[in-house]
């Protein structure tokens, strides 16, 4: 029973049908992880007891496996009466997990902004909030474009974890085909190639955005 090329081709439409779910999970997890990560970093930067707590939380998240987070959210939370859908848990889990890493990325991005920028903003009487929105965040984004893009690709590649929660994304769909037909090589190969293609396209897009960001008004 060698690799059946025709069978492989026949699985493409079914697996590609799940590409929307994969992309949705990627995009929502990215947004969630970025928002959470940035918030965490802002709180950590504020210092004090809250800052210290968040600092611990970030380290805790980064030191635990993403699979543990997904299992925990999906199987343990219902014990406490919190019942969430598979997709919600998946996005929440990936967002939480990657927020810890993105907080570190944002930290580096902010640390790289010269101190004079904050001083100029203060001298111009900008509020702390306006300083973050109009001065710090845009410059930080430019500094973090490359690592942020890498994590975007990482998150794409982490979406198959959601298969354990039966979220119908691409790898999950490939497994469905495999368990129905008892042929694993073909659907898994197709899923692998599709992930590769998506990752390459994403990486290219990220690179283009990075170049554009670097192009305008470089210091």
């Amino acid at each position: 029973m060698g690799f059946n090329f025709d069978f492989a081709l026949s699985t493409i439409p079914t697996i590609i049908g799940a590409i929307g779910m994969t992309l949705l999970a990627t995009v929502l997890s990215c947004l969630g992880a970025s928002a959470l990560g940035f918030t965490f970093e802002m709180i950590r930067r504020g210092g004090g007891a809250t800052g210290l707590t968040v600092r611990f939380l970030i380290d805790f998240i980064r030191s635990t496996p993403v699979l543990a987070w997904l299992y925990f959210l999906y199987f343990v939370l219902p014990f406490y009466g919190i019942r969430l859908g598979a997709m919600t848990v998946g996005i929440l889990g990936l967002s939480l997990y990657y927020s810890g890493y993105l907080a570190e990325v944002f930290k580096a991005g902010i640390d790289a902004i010269p101190k004079g920028q904050q001083e100029a903003a203060r001298a111009l009487s900008l509020t702390r909030r306006d300083t973050v929105i109009f001065v710090i965040a845009p410059q930080m984004l430019r500094n973090v474009a490359a690592p942020l893009g890498n994590y975007l690709v990482s998150i794409l590649k982490a979406t198959p974890y959601l298969a354990i929660l039966a979220v119908p994304e691409m790898l999950g769909r490939a497994f469905d085909i495999a368990s129905e037909t008892y042929r694993y090589a073909e659907p898994l190969t197709v899923a692998g190639i599709l992930f590769l293609a998506l990752a390459l396209i994403l990486a290219y897009g990220v690179k283009r955005i990075e170049q554009r960001l670097l192009g305008a008004g470089r210091r």
């Binding site: 004079g116 001083e119 100029a120 111009l124 009487s125 008004g217 470089r218």
Partner: protein, 258 residues
């Protein structure tokens, strides 16, 4: 106490814009500002000079609340800065600051650098903010670069934009922290020319600088600092004449001799 009496001033100018009383600042154990008393009158043009490490930059950074201090007060007309820094926001609104390293926002155009605070702090509508910004960019002779990004400008041009940006908020007092120290020699003149024009327009200025030619031409008063103290506060004329404090004399001889 070490300072000489300030130069005679007319009644109109006698209202102090800023009065510094007994200002003391420590960086850890290091006592960097020692009992500074200084009045800045409306329309005053004060040059602060002295050897490096004498506390002159720290002094003007205290005036707009960028540096906290531990003792003394800095009084503005409607705000008083003290060790708690409660009025910092109010005090800061009365000052404009020009930094040694320009500190323009690199991701914003020249125009947007100038309009940001107009729109977010003074809440001006976009059109009005742009008009005000263009007036000041014209005053610093760089209106044609409004749409350029800071990185596309020379150091001298960037510093002129920084001056325009600070002027946009219509501060009562302009603070300059070594505005020409980061510039190539051929660009110093264009920045000093703008500052000379500014001085001529009656803006109250406190300027930390080593440009003694500028001080001689523009300053009404010279504050000479050494080791965190105001060693001498005199009219420019007195300062540059033989009557100056020996420590100031030595400083002048050193920097004028090359």
């Amino acid at each position: 106490m070490h300072a000489q009496a300030p130069p005679p001033i007319s009644a109109v100018q006698s209202i102090p814009h800023v009065r510094i009383d007994g200002l003391n600042k420590w960086f850890g154990a290091l006592h960097v500002l020692k009992n500074i008393d200084l009045s800045v009158r409306a329309g005053a043009r004060i040059v602060v000079c002295g050897p490096s490490g004498s506390g002159k930059s720290t002094l003007i950074r205290c005036i707009n609340g960028l540096e906290p201090f531990q003792k003394g007060t800095i009084q503005f007309e409607a705000a008083t800065l003290d060790k708690d820094g409660r009025d910092t926001t109010k005090a800061r609104r009365q000052t404009g600051m020009v930094f040694q390293s320009f500190n323009l926002f690199p991701h914003l155009t020249v125009l947007a650098n100038c309009t940001l605070a107009l729109r977010r702090v003074l809440l001006k509508p976009a059109r009005e903010a742009e008009e005000i910004a263009m007036q000041h960019l014209t005053a610093v002779r760089i209106p044609e670069k409004a749409q350029a990004y800071p990185a596309q400008l020379s150091g001298g041009q960037q510093q002129r934009v920084a001056i325009a940006r600070a002027l946009c908020l219509n501060p009562r007092i302009m603070l300059f922290d070594e505005p020409t120290s980061a510039l190539d020699p051929e660009m110093i003149k264009e920045v000093l020319d703008v500052m000379i024009a500014l001085a001529g327009s009656g803006v109250t200025m406190v300027c930390v600088t080593h440009e003694m030619g500028f001080a001689r031409e523009v300053a009404g008063e010279i504050v000479f600092m050494d080791e965190g103290r105001v060693v001498e506060h005199a009219s420019s004329k007195d300062f540059f004449s033989a009557g100056a404090h020996p420590r100031a004399r030595l400083f002048l001889d050193t920097i004028l001799s090359h």
